[in-house]
Symmetry: C2
Subunit: 228 residues, 2 copies
């Protein structure tokens, strides 16, 4: 394994350990030494990649950004639905995403700047809404930045409520209901009629991404469909 | 002061102290001894009113219920808006409400049943929506229980986002924008046109309640308007 591959792998191991410890203990109570033990790496390795607990938390928070990409759709409202539903699906299945969302809502993390994920999510949805507007999918009064903020804030609360009430079991249903309440004030009814808003949408998109990644790693076998 | 009045006052002092400590430390790190010191009461007094830390937290959570009442309105959608906007206003001004909301979103409070406030809020909004439906204010497809859940979940997230980004400075604006995104899919446009959805609505309703409470304590001066 090349030296760079090893470094990437070590960084990933440390982040996964940090995610686990932050999720179990919360930011305030988590310690670097517990993250070290969980990761099974040396102090030197950890400090090579991360300066501090804050830095580790920002690393976990930033991992969400890697997961904001979905296949491009002709209908940008569908793409927006896909981003949101995929995130809901990953909250139930991907410990790194769950840890990031919990950190961003950790009210006791006083010294940690938790605004980053909110602002980056708003940016992504704002861009998708801008594109949707350019394609004539939106109602005329919509202010994309405002709608993006409402969607990000609402999603954060709906997932917290789902966690408190059902430990995320009802999350896909709750997110569907949220979108069905907000999208009719944002997009044309003809757009609404054409998009897939079903509760399994997140799993469908993930399977599509996985199939695409599989195709990517077998370039000799089949030609990859362009997705971006 | 009658013995019962003293007991009510002591209970209130203890709850205020518990709210403060839970808000500062989070549920997990908070201790009964710190709540005792903050309240300045004896251990005997505290245990007379509350059995455990869990019991104290449930007491703080339940305090929100006392604050769910707004003056009755001919338009029940306005009453719903008033409940929501008043809650947003109190989140900025009432430490007990803030502590309750933070406790209900405290992800590290593993042993604490945090579903109560969510469920009670849903119940209140569900009832208001049922009444609104009976008066013909709702669009025909609306399922009041679903809409109530969306509103409660969304509100929880919008306030968390407001806290993370602006320490609640932009909360009234964010809640107005949320309601403007959801209500058009729920109520008739003629109802929308008649309700006050302005950002100062919470403060207006609180002033009204305060004036009413003042009138209540001066029964000889003016006759109290019925509100319920």
């Amino acid at each position: 394994m090349a030296k760079q591959d090893r470094a990437i792998r070590t960084r990933r191991t440390i982040l996964a350990a940090a995610a686990k410890v932050f999720e179990q203990r919360g930011y305030q109570a988590a310690t670097i030494s517990e993250i070290l033990t969980t990761a099974g790496v040396t102090k030197g390795a950890l400090y090579f990649h991360f300066e501090s607990k804050d830095d580790l938390a920002q690393g976990v928070l930033a991992e969400q950004d890697q997961r904001l990409v979905v296949p491009r759709r002709p209908c940008r409202t569908q793409e927006l639905v896909d981003v949101v539903m995929l995130h809901a699906h990953r909250l139930r299945t991907d410990p790194m995403v769950r840890a990031g969302v919990r950190l961003s809502l950790d009210q006791q993390a006083h010294d940690l700047d938790r605004s980053g994920p909110f602002l980056r999510w708003v940016q992504v949805l704002d861009q998708l809404l801008d594109d949707a507007r350019a394609q004539g999918e939106l109602l005329p009064h919509v202010v994309p930045a405002e709608t993006a903020e409402v969607l990000v804030g609402s999603f954060a609360g709906v997932q917290a409520m789902s966690q408190a009430i059902s430990d995320y079991q009802d999350l896909p249903d709750r997110v569907c209901v949220l979108l069905r309440h907000v999208l009719p004030t944002v997009v044309l009814s003809s757009v609404l009629a054409s998009i897939d808003l079903s509760r399994t949408r997140g799993a469908v998109v993930l399977a599509e991404l996985d199939a695409d990644a599989g195709a990517d790693s077998r370039p000799a076998l089949l030609e990859r469909q362009p997705v971006g």
